[in-house]
Symmetry: C2
Subunit: 476 residues, 2 copies
């Protein structure tokens, strides 16, 4: 009997890389277990791991609480008898919402429609219509187990010829895109964002990537825009969005708009979010657009429920039927995630019993994220050899670090990318876990890392970062 070896597996799998949960995250988990089991005897020079590698707002050690309204509705859906057994502990609008959902869904233990509960898809369509001022069709909405599931589905459907079908992706990018392209043997066509102008999207860069693809015999099928950006936190202005849509028209590209951070806006007055759906409708453009949203980000932060949706615009019923067929094989998205979507797109309204608490909770989160983000950028920018765009959106900062030749040589000797070498040293010295820029992509010879603005105690934590940076700079 031959054993099952890595070499005998699907070779596309070997090419998949996902740094957000990669080497750094695995080592951080080892440190965490070590501290938990051995305490001071761990021999580590820190007493806790600070996981700033992943946009996971409700994880242990961070302080973002769930929105109470969501959890109350979810608890009633889990055990509907609570409406009778403990009626006084739930606000009236919570009971009304849970009752409405229960009448539509029945048990959350049943499979729903594969595309998602019809009533919740209607709620999503209303939310989109209100946001954009253009109608939305529930039949064109798919509820999903997080936005990632939808992105993966779309990429798997679009790659028609292995290694010859390409998708344009921003650099830096959220590595879900390169991972999914690798898995489905698609070609990643990178276009660079412009760090010097706050990580803006330049049409010229996308056109250059299209020219390279043509030379390489790769047929471009789609364009990914992450707005607000991940890891950059940049926001596209409407004028740029219009140019993107026209470019998609010209080159027959499907626009994949990753808009999961649409409500994470730190300076909404000067940097508002406009959806690509709105721009496409305003221009009356025929481009196929799929836009993704999620309950994992925003102020909801409900990552563990696995909930999200995508909306198809200008996509034929035949192609939507194919999507339906594919999601039906997976049966249905998790009901807990679907209920989370309903609560996100239909929050309490002024006058509802839950509204004051909901308002207070969401305002607090928005303020904390904006203030931390600004404070961190300010402090990082003061460090020698570090520059950091003060992002107007999303949950991350993506500082650039200058590394000396000595540091680069040491990294090479350790068999690591220079920024991974820096990040590993940071983790070992301080317990702070970030993701090196090589996991997101960057220009040759440049080095970055991504950190979230989710950790409380910015002062202490940035203090550790500063101290480490100084020591690292001294050593190398």
């Amino acid at each position: 009997m031959r054993p099952l070896t890595v070499d005998s597996l699907n070779p596309a799998i070997l090419n998949v890389q996902y740094a957000v949960r990669g080497e750094l995250a695995i080592k951080a988990e080892e440190h965490r277990v070590n501290l938990q089991e051995n305490g001071q005897a761990s021999g580590l020079p820190f007493d806790r791991v600070i996981s700033t590698n992943i946009g996971n707002p409700q994880q242990k050690g961070l302080d973002q609480p769930p929105i109470t309204f969501v959890r109350q509705v979810a608890a009633l859906m889990e055990w509907p008898d609570l409406r009778r057994l403990a009626p006084d502990v739930f606000p009236k609008d919570v009971i009304a919402r849970a009752t409405e959902l229960y009448e539509e869904i029945g048990s959350v233990g049943a499979y729903s429609h594969s595309q998602g509960v019809p009533l919740i898809r209607k709620s999503v369509a209303n939310f989109i219509a209100e946001r954009d001022g253009y109608p939305s069709n529930p039949a064109h909405i798919f509820l999903t187990g997080g936005a990632s599931y939808g992105v993966s589905l779309l990429i798997s459907m679009l790659i028609s010829t292995p290694y010859k079908t390409g998708i344009l992706i921003p650099i830096p990018q959220y590595p879900l895109y390169t991972a999914t392209l690798a898995q489905h043997s698609g070609a990643a066509l990178p276009y660079h964002l412009d760090e010097a102008s706050d990580w803006s999207t330049a049409i010229g860069e996308i056109e250059a990537a299209l020219e390279t693809a043509a030379k390489d015999g790769i047929s471009p099928k789609g364009l990914v825009i992450i707005n607000p950006g991940n890891p950059t936190g940049a926001l596209l202005d409407e004028h740029t969005q219009e140019k993107v849509v026209r470019l998609c028209e010209k080159h027959s590209l499907v626009l994949l708009a990753d808009e999961v951070y649409q409500t994470n806006l730190h300076r909404a007055e000067t940097h508002p979010f406009t959806s690509f759906k709105k721009v496409v409708r305003k221009l009356d453009s025929p481009i196929p657009l799929v836009s993704f949203h999620s309950i994992s980000k925003g102020v909801s932060g409900e990552c563990g429920r696995r909930g999200g949706y995508f909306e198809c615009v200008n996509i034929s019923d035949e192609v939507i039927a194919m999507m339906y067929k594919m999601v039906s094989v997976g049966l249905c998205p998790p009901l807990a995630g679907q209920i989370g979507v309903d609560c996100m797109v239909r929050p309490p309204k002024v006058g509802d019993e839950s509204y004051p608490l909901w308002k207070e909770e969401t305002d607090t989160i928005h303020k904390a994220l904006a203030s931390r983000s600004g404070l961190m950028a300010e402090r990082l920018n003061k460090l020698p050899g570090v520059s950091c765009v003060d992002s107007p959106g999303a949950l991350y900062l993506y500082p650039k670090i200058e590394l000396s030749d000595k540091a680069i040589a040491a990294a090479k000797e350790a068999g690591k990318e220079p920024d991974a070498f820096y990040a590993l040293a940071l983790l070992d010295a301080t317990g702070i876990c970030v993701v090196p820029g090589s996991g997101f992509g960057q220009k040759e010879g440049e080095y970055h890392y991504r950190l979230t603005c989710l950790c409380p105690g910015v002062d202490e934590y940035v203090g550790k970062l500063e101290k480490f940076h100084e020591e690292f700079s001294k050593k190398y």
Copy 2:
């Protein structure tokens, strides 16, 4: 701008078929909406749709309630304040379980470890060790969003050469296998189960399929066994299981054991379940085994939570690391599903406050399934031209129907498979939705359909089936 057409999509997608949620299910949903909106004015000759096409025990119109223990734990995890606000409505062991899980997990709104919460994986390992009498390693267990997710992951990893790597699948089979193989360009290598001996698995049939594969230049990589069977409900005896394991050794096959119905046993005294893990360990066999389990079936019936797990046996750390990498791209399985897994593998014990109710609820479900299954098989077997194996396990019956030349000709004229033609006529006449055998596979010239034993009111519902069969037989 060229529009996005079906022809321009990944051609593998076009080949995917999944009958359980296919034409019949879509038409049934149309009838349901029609009845809901128009009532008697719908013009339909029935007043409700009976969805016996899918193993979805808690769906509306069926009467299988959730297990209270699961839902109470889940409600407390959703809103932990309930422990304080309504302490008297929860049994003590429920509060203890929720507290233990909360201390480990923290918020259910946070991503967990991509492989699943460590404590819950330990619970699964204990459950397996107790079931089999052989140890189980939590590091080799992956919690998943339903068993389907795990099956799809494994198949996507095993198919190393498009169209040239094959997986042996039983015929009839649960169409997840053919759908997933089509999606990942794998070759389905069918072996027939023997209806004449209660759908038993014959080693000779598998060997014959291996010979055919060799002639076709297809390299077999894995063998799927569904035990208890879907759609057949058959159970493998231990002697056959041993032969299956030896065959996998001989041909270097990865054994994919779909054991999601392991507790759905209608006559456990004469037809017990033995896991493949136990057989592999007992034989001290080196074959790589992946076994799948789910909270969607059994008496749990928690389909909508999307929870399950797979255990890897005799699989190297390098291959497990690849699996971890792949699941990490999808971030983590839904927490609601993971909590469901914990409750399934660690139910209340004698002496716990929840135990009497848990025992009553699970006994009631077991009895109802066994009695309905037997009753339905008996009645179906009395119909002229119908024969039905009285299945000892799972949730389904798979009766064979003889169709006249006239019926077959009418089907051909309608552009339908003959059994799909029969099933559509059944749906239109009675509102009963079944899945035609062509969706699962059957021998040339044979016709079947699958129906679940989940619907209450067997007498009324089988009565409708009988009346329809008589009329159909008269007409054709």
